[in-house]
């Protein structure tokens, strides 16, 4: 077996896959990148936190998500940057005056020609406009068409379809209604909850994975505590203490 030829700045691909698990972008244009996605680079690359970039005005018009802003950087300069994510499969997608919603944990990088907004669905981000973005998935991405129901852990994203609803299995719903309802909230260990897609468009799926903790979830919960009174806060305190005790056993 011949060894693969070593890659240098001239033989590294331009905005293309190095292999199924690594992708190389050219800094001839600027890229938004998730922190930690970069694994190597050639040239004079600068990675600036969104809060500290010299282009704050430009960034503010493109990156419309305070929840995720601190997890992302702008890459600029000249050279080539290789990105990867835990050995997962990596693919690039081209949007043309379109929109696509993707799980925040799966999005690694996108061209600054695209615009990012927070999806109504927690944990997901929506890209608008024209340009390239790079996403990871556990195994190759599977494309499917609605009408369809997808396990939340297997859902990578969707394009052009209306936003999904939660669907609960009828049998599960029946037993839920028959029990002390509150005690079962937050339990989703099986097949009872799915994301329900209707209409026209494309759904992106992957093999399910153990979800890595999305730091934005904590910030989202924090930001919503402001609307609670003393009773609500006490209730949250109580539930948190219970979950903590359970997880320490």
């Amino acid at each position: 077996m011949t060894e693969p030829a070593p890659l240098n700045p001239y033989t590294l691909p331009t905005d293309d896959n190095v292999n199924p698990y690594a992708f190389c972008v050219d800094l001839s244009q600027q890229w938004f990148m998730r922190k930690g996605a970069m694994i190597a680079y050639y040239g004079q690359a600068k990675f600036e936190a969104l809060a500290a970039t010299s282009m704050a005005g430009f960034v503010a018009t493109r990156f419309s998500s305070p929840l995720y802003a601190m997890d992302w950087v702008v890459a600029q300069g000249q050279g080539k940057v290789v990105i990867g994510d835990r050995g997962h499969d990596i693919n690039s997608f081209d949007l043309e005056a379109g929109n696509l919603t993707i799980r925040a944990n799966n999005l690694l990088s996108f061209a600054t020609s695209l615009e990012l907004k927070q999806s109504i669905v927690p944990g997901f981000l929506t890209l608008y406009g024209t340009g390239k973005f790079i996403a990871s998935s556990n195994g190759p991405v599977i494309f499917a068409e609605p009408p369809m129901r997808v396990d939340p852990e297997a859902l990578v994203g969707w394009a052009d379809t209306p936003a999904p609803c939660h669907h609960f299995d009828a049998g599960w719903m029946q037993s839920f209604l028959g029990m002390a309802a509150n005690s079962m909230l937050g339990i989703n260990s099986g097949e009872e909850r799915q994301m329900d897609f209707v209409g026209e468009g494309t759904i992106l799926m992957q093999s399910s994975e153990i979800m890595s903790e999305d730091p934005a979830v904590v910030r989202m919960i924090e930001s919503q505590l402001g609307g609670l009174g003393t009773g609500g806060l006490q209730r949250i305190n109580h539930v948190t203490a219970q979950r903590l005790a359970a997880s320490q056993q």
Binding site: N138, G139, P140, D151, E191, Q206, S208
Partner: protein
């Protein structure tokens, strides 16, 4: 008879005709009118056969149990589990598949599941079975239909017959199909007892005729 179909190396798809039994949490998505019912529990639709209450209880006692769901109805269902690789295995009448419960993604309802004892050979083998983390029991599938295995990396198959048997590292072993006897074989001496062994003292010896499925990794699921 539903047929499993590879979507990619980590996902299978099945068009439901007769029901499919799958590990809980393995369903990735579905189209059509499909219902998911816990399998092998009282009140569930699939409490028949050997997978019924008594069988489920026995398997739970043996530590050889994963909660399963039965998919019934009309439509297509996608299955996968945490990015593990999948292997589809067709089981013919007369063949038996031995597989650890946590390595079984899904199978046709036409296959009967029961628990088999592999820790033969007296107390010594019993002790080594525990040391290998393999357990002394394994899930046994028989009948006609297909089953889907989970592995870390792709599996490869080692054919065996009377003239050649094979010994497998317990962590690399995934399943065995045919008329295969799987035994824990160990040369446990004082070195293992004090933790200075070669690390290869405990093996699974597969004899008989059939196929042994092995993964190129020692990672447990």
């Amino acid at each position: 008879m539903p047929g499993f179909e590879m979507v990619n190396s980590k996902v299978v798809k099945v068009r439901l005709g007769s029901p499919v039994i799958a590990r809980r949490g393995a369903m990735l998505g579905y189209t059509g009118d499909v219902r998911f019912v816990p399998h092998g529990v009282p009140g569930g639709a699939g409490a028949g056969g050997l997978g019924g209450l008594a069988g489920g209880l026995a398997r739970r006692m043996a530590g050889e149990h994963e909660a399963t769901m039965e998919a019934t109805g009309q439509g297509e269902v996608w299955y996968g589990f945490r990015g593990s690789h999948v292997t589809i295995v067709d089981i013919a009448p007369g063949q038996v598949m031995l597989v650890e419960a946590d390595r079984l993604l899904c199978h046709d309802v036409t296959l009967q599941a029961s628990t088999a004892f592999i820790g033969q050979g007296g107390m010594r083998a019993a002790v080594s079975g525990m040391m290998s983390g393999q357990g002394l029991f394994t899930t046994q599938l028989s009948g006609q239909g297909s089953a889907v295995l989970l592995s870390h990396g792709e599996t490869f198959s080692l054919p065996i017959d009377q003239s050649r048997n094979v010994a497998v590292d317990p962590q690399a072993y995934v399943a065995a199909l045919g008329q295969v006897k799987v035994e824990v074989s160990a040369k446990v001496g004082w070195r293992e007892a004090v933790g200075k062994g070669s690390g290869e003292a405990i093996q699974l010896r597969c004899t008989g005729s059939g196929t042994v499925f092995v993964q190129a990794s020692e990672e447990k699921l």
